[in-house]
């Protein structure tokens, strides 16, 4: 019977230790997760912000960034498309209160390394800055639009444009006023 007792004791000791460690790290983990998100958002906003408000809707999640004076400085929205070369592309799109694009960050994609994955490279992303739903023909140049497609990765480029449009439209719905200004 000794083996069983020992195994059980080892199990109980391990479990206790783990429970303690888990308890200690629960807080830091939650904070770390929050920080990750914040960092991501900080990356797409060209300015520092003070606080962040997370809004979860049925369709997606978005974040409002406020400055010290509690005025909205930027909105970040999670948007996605299934039309990538290898399916799903998720991006975090940041716009200013007047619904101009500030930048975006790719959260998830499976595009071909070396081709489609350039959608996450600054060179491609740069061109989106300052665009709005209205001031841009959201098609790729090939199809007569304004977006410079990546060579040999038109599909990925189109997909990103689509996701961006989807995000912009969503924000327009949420903040009908600000865009009217």
């Amino acid at each position: 019977m000794r083996p069983i007792t020992i195994l059980t004791i080892v199990g109980i000791l391990s479990a206790s230790l783990l429970a303690v460690v888990e308890d200690l790290t629960r807080e830091p983990i939650a904070i770390a997760k929050e920080q990750m998100k914040r960092k991501a958002i900080e990356q797409i906003f060209p300015f520092p912000f003070d606080s962040l408000r997370t809004v979860t809707t049925e369709q997606t999640t978005f974040y409002e960034a406020y400055n010290q004076d509690n005025a909205i400085e930027g909105i970040a929205v999670e948007t996605s498309t299934e039309e990538g070369y290898s399916g799903l592309i998720e991006i975090l799109l940041g716009v200013s209160p007047d619904q101009k694009i500030l930048g975006y960050k790719v959260l998830f994609h499976r595009e071909t390394p070396g081709l489609g994955d350039k959608i996450d490279k600054p060179k491609f992303k740069e061109q989106f800055k300052g665009r709005t739903l209205e001031n841009t023909n959201w098609k790729v140049k090939k199809d007569g639009g304004d977006i410079d497609e990546l060579t040999a990765a038109t599909i990925s480029s189109k997909a990103v444009a689509n996701a961006v449009v989807k995000g912009l439209e969503f924000i327009k719905e949420q903040y009908p006023k600000s865009s009217a200004e």
Partner: protein
């Protein structure tokens, strides 16, 4: 300080561990299989080269049989005396000590001494050559000199020098793996001794024929037989042979042998003898 996860964590892991422990305990009792741990111990002690010198196909088999029979006469030539002691200690019996033996090539016909036949261009292997014709050396009893046996030696004790196999006595464990590897049967086993005399020739041709084929061959001239005080040399079928039990290693036979080099075994001696012959 105790977190809310503490109790469920401890309880669940504890109970899973307990359950599994119980199951294992029960099952291992129910399905217990008797096994002799001695076999494993012996197996670890043995050299593990599975050379077959002991007469069993593998070291494991040797261990099994040894544990079963406790036969103290079983020996592992490779492990030698040390191993015999260890095995004996483990089993609590006194093991017979293997006589150290070594392989000996009964031929001195290298590229300088043995005369050639037609050039051989087939597969470079002693068996392939002898299966094609008498072989690249005129003497059909000779070491063919293509080294087929080398690969069979697990201990790296064989090497080819100037068309003749040389056996490194220090490495040779007497495992006998090379014997079936040789088509002309020119390798034999002999007890390891510090000084030992062997007629290192395998030719059963008559003297004249041997002489024609090789400078180093035994021509059955009888001189050594006459000079040997211990009657340790006999001539069988045109080839002299030293009876090891009788030989006292006096070395007289070397002195009288007209071909000078055919009675040696120690490698150092062999070189010396060659020099002697040259001078």
């Amino acid at each position: 300080m105790i977190s809310e996860a503490f109790i469920p964590a401890v309880a669940s892991l504890g109970s899973v561990a307990l359950t599994l422990g119980l199951i294992i305990f029960y099952v291992s009792k129910k399905f217990h299989v008797e096994e002799d741990p001695m076999v494993t111990i012996l197996n670890d002690t043995l050299p593990g080269v599975n050379c077959g010198a002991c007469g069993y196909p593998s070291c494991g088999q040797f261990a099994e049989v040894l544990v079963e029979t406790k036969d103290s006469s079983m020996t592992c030539p490779v492990g030698g005396t040390d191993l015999a002691e260890k095995l004996g200690d483990t089993l609590g019996i006194t093991m017979a000590e293997p006589k150290p033996i070594t392989a000996v090539v009964l031929c001195q016909g290298d590229n300088d001494t043995a005369r050639e036949t037609a050039e051989y261009l087939g597969i470079q292997d002693c068996w392939a050559a002898t299966q094609t014709y008498v072989g690249p050396k005129q003497c059909r009893y000779s070491c063919v000199g293509l080294g087929s046996c080398i690969a069979f030696c697990d201990f790296g004790a064989m090497r080819l020098e100037n068309g003749l196999i040389i056996i490194d006595k220090d490495r040779c464990t007497g495992c006998e793996a090379c014997i079936p590897a040789c088509p002309t049967g020119v390798i034999v086993m002999q007890e390891k001794k510090a000084e030992r005399y062997v007629i290192a020739c395998n030719s059963h041709d008559k003297g004249a024929a041997t002489k024609k084929a090789c400078d180093a061959g035994c021509i059955a001239c009888q001189k050594c037989v006459k000079v040997c005080d211990d009657d340790a040399i006999v001539i069988e079928n045109f080839l002299a042979k030293i009876i090891q039990e009788k030989c006292t290693s006096c070395g007289k036979c070397i002195e009288v042998c007209p071909t000078k080099v055919n009675c040696i075994l120690l490698e150092e001696d062999l070189k010396e003898a060659k020099q002697k012959k040259a001078s």
